[in-house]
Amino acid sequence: MSGAEKIAVKVTDIVPLNELVTRFEFKRIDGGLLPTFSGGAHTVVEMQDGDITRLNPYSLMSDPMDQTAYTISVRRDDEGRGGSLFMHRNVKIGDEMTISYPVNLFSLDLRAKKHLFLAGGIGITPFLAQIKQLERFNGNWELHYACRSESLGSYVDELRGHHPNETHIYYDDQEQRIDLVNLLDGQPLGTHVYVCGPKGMIDWVRQTAEAEGWPREAIHYEEFLAPQPGKPFEVKLAISNKVIAVGENESLLEAMEREGVDAPYLCRGGACGQCETRVLDYTGNFIHRDHWLEDDEHASGEKIMPCVSRFEGKILVLDR
């Protein structure tokens, strides 16, 4: 089996927060306790959408010490391949679902003297759990959270209500911007920066911090990519001795799973490196979309991350 251990859960609460975001609560079907986790962890939610099994990662946002329930928040992506739409439209209270054990690819650096959180939109969710974790141990943190508008500001009221001194909100439609250079300049020695949000925001924070002389190890980021649709292509799997077709709306990883090929994975979002696969032969072009491989590895044509990356061309042979 690939992926983390599985847990059978029941949907126990569904709360629409605003036009785009809905919160889901899960409890164990057997009534037992869920594993504790560390702030920043995600779970992979399995969705049975007709014949298609969708596996999407979502950050856990509940208190890591609360073993009675997990909560996640799902932003509806009308342009996506359907996972978030399935959660919004098809999932009902009482439904039984399967989720994975928590996996953390965005954990706190507990050496930090201060944790500076930068969130964009739905990127707020891992910080909600990290804040709860730090509050329990009197951790030093500060949040700067950019949302599109007041009406789309998920959890703004809760954060401002509980942590008025630590929470700073910025609304795009009111032309409010994080003054990043000054913010970074004013941080005490030993501060670690964490950013979760759209790719543009992550790149902006990483580049600004590097230009300001911050050590690479003090900047932490997480962006789960959703696999993007693309032209269908064929791939030969050398070990399994199979030729499979990857459809327009499925990822290469999903196509392998559909054909019964046991391919390793954890995050399914181009971040963890678990599904890295050797390319044995190809004629054509790769569409690399992951954060895992380095630029020279992308250029080499020797590796692909099948969870998010695609291929256009005549021949692709993989070591699976």
């Binding site: 983390a4 010490m65 054990y101 996996v103 706190l108 650096d109 507990l110 050496r111 678990q274």
Partner: protein, 355 residues
């Protein structure tokens, strides 16, 4: 099965012994007639009944005496137990993991009663009955890692995970095969493995690190490692090399069977949930050559492995000078017959020694 705990020592008069049961369940580390490094990892999810693999943390007849020996080592050298300030949460994780595992796996020996954060821990073999507040250090006599590892066999390296690496940032190390926590504290995975020969060239450590970084909650892993120790010493540390190193020169053909021990480490790896750290318990098992030779398959195989081991490894493991004497002894128990695959003794199916 109720365990009869041995009253024994691992120093001075060396009254350590293995019962017949302990010999049969000894984790013999060679699955074939030769040995080379590999990332030989497998899932740690139980194993044959009464094997050292069966429980998450094996408790055996040496438990009480090993914990007495640990207390003696710590009294002499408190730096055998260290925890950098950011590792306290990982210490609580480890305390929880061991208390939950032992109380579930050995309900006749250990009890854990939890009422919110008020926990009562009962350790019957060591006579402990203690109520404390989880996550409140002031309610324990030691830090959480030290508290629980004074009650758990084996060494414990608690590794922080960051920057795609593992960092030796906490540990309890009193039964080690010649490495020092005080020296390695704060090092990363490649730094603390720097002295190991051959394995770097083989890319072993890059693959091993990648595997370890991906160990997830609920899916622990394990492997065996081994070396040689003269006299049943738990504490073969660099700090005390002046005490035990010299003992390697006391071997004679007459005393070798009793004094020379195969030292096997059952290494397990667990992701710690609240801290996202990784704990690496290193459990040491000792067995004298003469006890090992009561299993015909192990006698045949140990001779062949030691005979054919590369010089670099015999040197690194510290027995190159004694190897000829060991081979003279072991060759008496190798009749040239083939051996069955795997590590188990196979006493019912393997033939008795044919010479």
């Amino acid at each position: 099965m109720t365990i009869q705990f041995n009253d024994e020592t691992f120093r001075d008069d060396y009254s350590f012994y293995n019962s017949e049961r302990a010999i049969k369940r000894f984790p013999f580390p060679f699955h074939e007639d030769s040995y080379m490094y590999s990332v030989n990892m497998e899932q740690h999810r139980g194993g044959p009944v009464d094997s050292v693999y069966e429980k998450r943390f094996d408790v055996d007849e040496h438990y009480v005496s090993e914990m007495k020996d640990r207390a003696l080592v710590l009294a002499d050298d408190p730096l055998r137990c260290q925890s950098l300030p950011h590792m306290t949460l990982a210490g609580w994780d480890l305390l929880e993991l061991i208390m939950v595992s032992k109380s579930e796996d050995y309900p006749d020996l250990f009890e854990l009663h939890r009422d919110g954060n008020t926990w009562r821990w009962v350790n019957k073999p060591m006579g402990i009955d203690h109520t404390f507040t989880f996550l409140d250090e002031a309610t324990l006599p030691y830090g959480p890692m030290e508290y629980i590892t004074r009650q758990a066999q084996g060494d414990f390296a608690v590794l922080d995970q960051r920057d795609d690496n593992l960092w030796m940032d906490a540990g309890m190390v009193t039964t080690q095969a010649d490495w020092s926590l005080d020296f390695d504290i704060g090092m990363n995975f490649f730094e603390w493995h720097a002295p190991v020969p051959l394995a770097h060239e083989k890319g072993i450590f890059i693959r091993a690190l990648k595997f370890l970084l991906n160990i997830q909650q609920g899916a622990p892993a394990r492997r065996l490692n081994w070396t040689m120790t003269v006299n049943p010493l738990l504490d073969t540390s660099p700090e005390n090399y002046h005490k035990w190193g010299i003992q390697k020169t006391t071997l004679t053909p007459e005393n070798l069977g009793a004094k020379q021990h195969l030292r096997v480490e059952l290494q397990t790896f667990f992701r710690l949930p609240r801290s996202n750290a990784l704990v690496f318990p290193i459990r040491c098992y000792l067995c004298s050559f003469q006890d090992l030779m009561t299993v015909p398959k192990w006698g045949r195989r140990l001779h062949r492995v030691i005979r054919d081991l590369p010089v670099e490894l015999a040197t690194y493991k510290g027995f190159i000078d004694n190897r000829p004497m060991m081979l003279d002894y072991l060759s008496q128990f190798d009749d040239g017959l083939p051996t069955s695959p795997g590590i188990w003794p196979d006493l019912d199916t393997e033939p008795a020694l044919q010479k």
